[in-house]
């Protein structure tokens, strides 16, 4: 199997600071990959490289075997939730329609199918600004997946969603990658909401990086060496809690926004 997305010896410097260096990563079809790390570690930057919006400082990036700019059709993108204005004259189905590029007469069927797949038919004709955050994110996912791209990039799609909507959205993405083989690269502050689904984790911190399964990466030794400080990783039932010198590293970041 060829990788859906690949970074080879990739490095990124922004404003004189090295975000990551020599990063090797190959995302397989159907894989659920979580990208974690503190604020400013370069998680979103990594997505922007794969979206073709930023150039690497060194190394190379590929999407579906080509440069990210050429591979745009192969990528779906779900951003952070920024609620739409309540008065915005746009329906849910109009947002989803933006994901469609084919001939006009096929649009309606493609949009309906995409709405159906995320269970959003019921509110597709409502003004989008009047929908809940969870409903809006479902519509964004429908838009991103409409063209059946092999790769889906999500930038903190759970931020400012309540727990039940967080669960809905992650379960939806998980089902999609199992049924369609869509690889999911999921940037998040917090591992726990996606822990049941992730195959591998990329952890970025302090200019260093680690790649592996959640069990491999989330160890006190591994994270301590990334942060260059003493970090304790504690398992509480089926949750992972990361404790740093200044308190709970993950939870702190999660509540900053």
């Amino acid at each position: 199997m060829t990788a859906v997305a690949e970074l080879r010896a990739a490095s990124m410097r922004l404003g004189g600071r090295t975000l990551w260096d020599g990063l090797d990563l190959a995302v397989e079809p159907g894989e659920f990959l979580a990208v974690l790390g503190p604020n400013g570690a370069g998680k979103t930057t990594l997505l922007k490289v794969l979206l073709g919006l930023l150039e690497l400082s060194g190394g190379s990036a590929f999407v579906a075997g080509v440069a990210p700019r050429e591979g745009r059709d192969q990528v779906g993108y779900v951003p952070q939730l920024r609620a739409f204005d309540r008065a915005l004259p746009l329906r849910g189905r109009d947002l989803v329609r933006f994901g469609f590029d084919g001939p006009r007469q096929d649009a309606r069927a493609a949009v309906d199918a995409a709405l159906e797949a995320v269970g959003a038919r019921g509110y597709a004709d409502e003004p989008i600004g009047r929908l809940s955050g969870g409903e809006q994110q479902r519509l964004r996912i429908a838009q991103a997946l409409l063209g059946h791209p092999p790769l889906l990039l999500c930038d903190e799609p759970l931020l400012s969603l309540d727990l039940s909507h967080q669960h809905d959205v992650t379960a939806l993405l998980d089902r999609r990658r199992r049924e369609d083989g869509t690889a999911v690269v999921f940037v998040t502050h917090e591992i726990n909401p996606v822990l049941p689904y992730v195959d591998r984790v990329v952890y970025l911190a302090g200019g260093r990086w680690a790649v592996g399964s959640a069990d491999e990466v989330f160890t006190s030794a591994r994270l301590s060496s990334l942060y260059g400080a003493t970090i304790d990783v504690v398992r509480v039932r089926d949750r992972i809690v990361v404790l740093g010198a200044d308190g709970e590293v993950e939870a702190c970041h999660h509540h900053v926004h």
């Binding site: 073709g52 919006l53 745009r72 993108y77 951003p79 915005l88 004259p89 746009l90 933006f98 989008i128």
Partner: protein, 273 residues
Amino acid sequence: MSLDFYLQQPFAQHALLAGAIVAVTCGLIGPFVVMRGMAFAVHGTSELAFTGAAAGLLVADNAVAGALVGAVVVAALLTVLGGEERDRDSTIGVVLAFGLGAGVYMLGRYHGFATAATNILFGDIFGVSNGQLVLLLAIGVAVAVVMLVIRRPLLFASVDAEVAMARGVPVRALGALFLLVLALTVTEAAQVVGTLLVLSLAISPAAAAQRLSANPATVTWLSIGFALLATEGGILASLASDTVKPSVFVTAISFTIYIAARLAAARRRPAYA
């Protein structure tokens, strides 16, 4: 004089035709003006049409040509200086202040009849010549064609610039192109309702329309319809009244439509937040 009599006259027919062209183009761009929060850009570019007109008079004795060239210059200037979205309004304010000052100076230097420049402030729909009508039509068709071509990507860029950019939509270029289209439309509209009243055609109809529907296509059709109703209704009412300027009726009708749309929307869907 009766309305029937006036409708036989070329000046009234020209007015109705010019009004229709301006209404359609304003109705077409209006929803994007409202969605992108560009009301102040409309106001700024329309007032700067006065500066363009004054410059046109001074240089070539042609207010309309001056206003149109001015619109292009203003759009280019605002694109270059514009930068981030939140700086946009202050940039417009700065350019507008300087532009009006320059306009007053140039009008002072002009020794012909200055009515051609002040007409652009208040509108001179009953003074549209054959040549102007042709120019108006050409600009109207150009604006309509551009809007038709860029409609969908511009809508995407307007509601969700981040994702549009990620999908390869040229968000910045579209923004610059729309500003140019807006400046030309507004300058064109200024000749009908005048610079000071352009907002009533470029904003009010679209603002009313978006109260009534969330379907972008419906909003565009309603916006065009409302703009036509205000313009043609205003011109006819002015002819019938014999003394009152059309701008008065145009603005009154479009304000009435806006209030009616808000009332209708409030009845249908209570504003719960």
